[in-house]
Symmetry: C2
Subunit: 226 residues, 2 copies
Amino acid sequence: MNIIPNDAEPTEGSATHRAYLELREMIVTGQLKPGEKLKIDVLRKLLDTGASPIREALSLLTSDNLVERIDQRGFRAAEVSAENFEEILMLRSTLEDLALRESIANATDAWEECVVLAHHRMQRASDTGPKSFEPLHKAFHMALLANAKSPILLKFCSQLYDLNIRYRFLAGNTLNYKKRDVSEEHAGVLEAVVARDPDLASKRLLHHYRLTGEFLAGLIGKGFSK
Amino acid sequence: MNIIPNDAEPTEGSATHRAYLELREMIVTGQLKPGEKLKIDVLRKLLDTGASPIREALSLLTSDNLVERIDQRGFRAAEVSAENFEEILMLRSTLEDLALRESIANATDAWEECVVLAHHRMQRASDTGPKSFEPLHKAFHMALLANAKSPILLKFCSQLYDLNIRYRFLAGNTLNYKKRDVSEEHAGVLEAVVARDPDLASKRLLHHYRLTGEFLAGLIGKGFSK
DNA sequence: TAGCGGAAAAATATCGATTTTCTTTCTGTT
DNA sequence: AACAGAAAGAAAATCGATATTTTTCCGCTA
């Protein structure tokens, strides 16, 4: 990530790629609501581009479980539910546990430095808005796992991260989240990673997720109203 | 496939959906080779359809990790490697273990009947060609897991199944596979599931995968030549 | 002869218009 | 008043053509 992150989407990349990033952002942040119909024509005008890039971007977002595609009936933003949230939490716990252990097993100094750096950048941005904090938060979590030589696993984790963070946005602003002792929890995980203690690191990471899960479950309540 | 193939793809569904199924089949069976460039124009003529459905189908196949998309540089069939194979095997073991246990935990008579039925259908087709056997084989394996109330997990398992079976096709014909005691292994899993013994069922299922893995690793050798 | 632009060719990506499919509304009947 | 069926409207899907980008190939220079 660089300085002046947002609004930095001029003409780089293909129209499809830009549409992909924008739509993804809109869905994750809740700007496009769960279950909402995603009409090609509306989005086309909204993003000022053609129908093809939109369709293709939406097709790609289906991979990420952020968009549902119903043949001959268009696209819609993925639904949310308490069950879905639970499932994401469960899968994240399982898969990140796996990835983190593998990552630590392959530990190198270079990787360790990347993690420390990612943590520092996230810390530095902890007082700024979610717009700059969130990407760094994700970067930190992914950096923890990045040393696992398992591309598919990492892809799954990345997807689940996005699905999870979406619930944070849907549950309201993310300020409350940061009010919690998240900072300490992160530091704890980092410490265990630097100590190359897989059990402790995993324990702390999963604890972090469990707390976040309970926290969000509380905000969410039992049901979602569209 | 060949001239006048299954012909069982009339006009049902959208052109995109048909293209998706055909391309997927071609990649899984190795008709489109790993790493091969997938030129829109070639496929367009091959499947006798427009460029849009092809592009969209390829975009959807990226979800399944069967196609790689490089922005502004087109699509290609996913690469294969010994590491990739190992990873798939490892993830499958982990995730199917999870799913199978959850599935058994939620066991109902109706589900049990579906599993028995799927097994029977697969058995009945065990002497026929892979063309009819393979879908039933997949159906059986997915039926085992289907009772887990975890759509995302099941989707992952389904994807990993396809990725795995691709290696079987790439390693040569699937006849050798069936020569093994696969039939007995399947029966063993079924038995344990009917007995609702999660530990035994999982143990047998993972054993089945481990054997298949070793078997394929032997065929594959260390490297893949394009 | 290796390396370096720089056209020409090829392929991708995108657009605008058309066709097909779904959805809603309207109408006549029971 | 309720409902089936038809017709109009809306939206998705697809096509054909064009614009953009990447790749290839060739001649030039050092």
